[in-house]
Symmetry: C2
Subunit: 362 residues, 2 copies
C-alpha cells in the first residue's frame, strides 16, 4: 500500500477514493460531501459559467477545508457545420413528428466549454488543490501557469499511449479510464469520433499496463469500480487510488435527474453501450430509445459537443413524461452495485469494504 | 482464499490457474504442460475429430496424471445459406483479384462441431475430470450422462443473466468471461451476431456481479489477466481461480501459428477489436487488414462457423507471404504482459507473482 500512502500524503487525503467528475449530474454538494469524508470530491466545470464555478468552489470551501478537484474538458471547439446539423436534425424528424414538436424550432442544449486562458486565470485566482482534465491537456503555457500557483494536474488516459503522452507532460497523476466507465471516454490521441468501441481497453487489462508505462507517477483506476472489491482490485493491479462515478450518481447529494435515477435502479451489467449520439463523442450510458433504435454509434452525429442540440427538445418532452428516451443516462457497468445512501457514507464504505476484504482475504 | 482453497481441493489442483482452451492454437502439449505444473490444462475439441480427441487425451494422460479439462462448443449448426455465402464471397472478390486467386474455387476452412450425443459417448468412455462448454450448455440429458460418470461441468458466462442461467442448470463452476478476453465471446442468451460490442462487460465489473448472482458456485475469472496482478485482482473480486489464454499463446507448447506469434510480439493494449468477420461470431483479435478495411463487425458475415470458408484461400496465401491479413490472430487486451517461456513456467509464475504481491501488499 506504499503507493496509496504516498498518494494520500501528497494530496492531503484520508481515503484513496476519488469521486469522478460528472458534468450535468454533480455540483458542489456532492464534491463537498466526498471531500468532507476524506476522499477527493470533484467539481465538473465543462458546463458551468465562470460565475457559477466561483460560486461552486466557494460552496465547497464553506462546507469543508479538505482538498478537492476541479475538472475541465480540453476538446477543440468544433467548426460550426450547418449542413451536418441540418442532416442530423432531419434524421430525427420522425421523432419530432411523433411527439408533435417543430423540428425547426431553436434548441438550447447546454454546451461544454473547453479550458482556456480565462478559465486558467480563474483557477490562478481560486487555486483549487487539483485540476483534472478530460480529452487531453491544455497547452503547455496554461499548465505552467497552473503549476506556478501550486495546483496539481491530473490527466485521463484510455490507452497506454495516452498515459505515456500525459506522463511526458509531467502530470501529477494519471487516471486510467477503463472501458467499463460511465460517461465520456477520455480518448484524445485519435480524432475518429466512432473509433471502434470494442477496442476500448477494460480496466483490469488497462491499469497494470498503464502502471508499467508511467513509472513513478501515481495511477488512479477508473471504470467498473462499484464497491470495496473493485477498490482493492484496483490497488492490487497497481493503482494508488480508485475513481468511482456511478456509485455516487444515486446519492442524494448528486444532481442526477429523476429519469436518470429511475433508470439506474434497474441497471444491469450488460445494459449500457458506448454512444456518440447524445453529445458527438463516445460515452457510456444505459441504452435508451434513440440508442436502441439508431444503434449507439453513428457517423451522422455532429461533432462534440453539438450533437445534443437537435435532441434537446425531444429530451425535454420525453423527460416531462418520465421517459429517458433521448437523455444521457450515463452509467458504468457496475451500476447494480450502487447503494442509495449519503455520499459521505459511500466514500467511507468503499474504503472500509476494501480494508475488511484485505483483512479477511490475506 | 477459502474459495480458492475449496476450488483447488474439489478439482485436485495445486494452482488456481486455468489455461483457456484455444481452438486452433492449442492441443495436448500445452494442456499437459499446464496440468503437469499443477494448473488446469484445457484441450479444445471444437475443431477435432473423435479420433483426434482420443489421441490428444491419451497424450495428456501419458504426460501427466493431473486433472485436465476438455472443452466443447455448443452452438447450433447453421442452416446452410448459399445466398449468404455467395454474397459474402462476392464482397471479398477484390481481395481474390488482388491476390490472383479464383473466387469460385472451393475452400476448406476447418469447421467447428457442436457437442452432440457422439461426443458425449466419447466423454463417457474417456472420462476427463472436467468438461467445459462455450456458447451455453448441451441438452439436459447429455449433461446428466456426463455427470453420471463423475465428470464436472463448467460453463462460460459473459453476463450476469448468462451466469444465472448456468447456475440454474447446476454447473460446477462459472467462467466469467470479461470483455478483455481474446477469442470467441461465449455469448449465448442472444442470437444477434452483431450485438453491440460496447455492451460486453469488462472483467472488473463482471466478476463481482456474477459472484453475487451465483451464490456458492465457484467463479473462474477470465479476460485481460496477464500476470500475477490480474490473478490476485480476480480473487479480490471474488473469483476462485483465474483463466488465462493469451499468456499461453506465446509459449513453445502452444500450436500458435507463425504469423500469430509474430503479431503478438508487438501487440498493444488497444490493438484488438471484436470481430465477426473471421468466423461469424464475435471474437477478440488483433486488428488485421480485413478487420481494418471492412470494420470488424458486419451483418454480411455468414453464420458461425461458416464465415471463415470464403476467407480461407486469402488467409492461406497471405500467411504464406508472412502476413496475417485474413487470419484469426486472437488476443486479449493484456498481450503485452505475456512472456515467451515454457508453459509450466508461465503457470507457476502467474501464481508465484500473485503470492508475492499478496505478501508485499498486505
Amino acid at each position: 500500500m506504499s503507493k496509496t500512502q504516498a498518494f494520500l500524503e501528497a494530496h492531503g487525503l484520508a481515503l484513496p477514493i476519488v469521486q469522478a467528475p460528472m458534468a450535468g449530474s454533480n455540483g458542489a454538494t456532492l464534491a463537498a460531501a466526498v471531500s468532507g469524508a476524506g476522499g477527493m470530491g470533484s467539481l465538473p466545470c465543462a458546463m458551468l459559467s465562470a460565475e457559477k464555478i466561483r460560486e461552486e468552489i466557494a460552496a465547497i470551501r464553506a462546507a469543508t477545508g479538505n482538498p478537492f478537484n476541479v475538472n475541465f474538458f480540453t476538446h477543440a471547439e468544433p467548426v460550426p457545420d450547418e449542413s451536418a446539423q441540418a442532416r442530423w436534425r432531419e434524421s430525427l424528424r420522425p421523432y419530432y413528428e411523433e411527439m408533435g414538436l417543430d423540428p425547426n424550432a431553436l434548441s438550447n442544449a447546454p454546451g461544454r466549454r473547453p479550458f482556456d486562458a480565462d478559465a486558467c486565470t480563474l483557477m490562478e485566482e481560486l487555486r483549487p488543490p487539483v485540476v483534472s482534465f478530460h480529452f487531453g491537456l491544455p497547452d503547455a503555457d496554461l499548465l505552467r501557469r497552473l503549476r506556478a500557483v501550486g495546483i496539481r494536474i491530473w490527466g485521463c488516459a484510455t490507452t497506454v499511449a495516452e498515459a505515456r503522452w500525459l506522463a511526458g507532460r509531467g502530470v501529477d497523476a494519471v487516471i486510467a479510464q477503463g472501458a467499463e466507465a460511465g460517461g465520456h471516454r477520455g480518448i484524445f490521441l485519435t480524432d475518429d469520433p466512432v473509433r471502434d468501441a470494442s477496442s476500448q481497453v477494460g480496466t483490469l487489462a488497462l491499469v497494470p499496463q498503464v502502471v508499467d508505462a508511467v513509472g513513478e507517477i501515481p495511477v488512479i483506476a477508473a471504470g467498473g469500480i462499484g464497491d470495496g472489491r473493485g477498490v482493492l482490485a484496483a490497488m492490487v493491479l497497481g493503482a494508488a487510488a480508485a475513481q468511482v462515478g456511478t456509485a455516487f450518481l444515486v446519492t442524494p447529494e448528486a444532481a442526477t435527474s429523476a429519469v436518470h435515477r429511475e433508470a439506474l435502479k434497474t441497471a444491469t451489467d450488460d445494459g449500457t453501450a458506448l454512444t456518440n449520439l447524445l453529445s458527438g463523442r463516445p460515452a457510456r450510458g444505459l441504452i435508451n430509445r434513440v440508442m436502441a433504435e439508431r444503434g449507439p454509434i453513428s457517423r451522422d452525429a455532429p461533432a462534440f459537443p453539438t450533437a445534443g442540440s437537435a435532441l434537446a427538445p425531444l429530451k425535454a418532452r420525453a423527460e416531462a413524461e418520465g421517459r429517458a428516451d433521448f437523455s444521457s443516462i450515463w452509467s458504468g457497468q457496475a451500476a447494480s452495485l450502487a447503494v442509495a445512501e449519503p455520499a459521505a457514507d459511500v466514500t467511507r464504505r468503499l474504503w472500509s469494504e476494501a480494508e475488511a476484504l484485505r483483512g479477511k482475504f490475506f
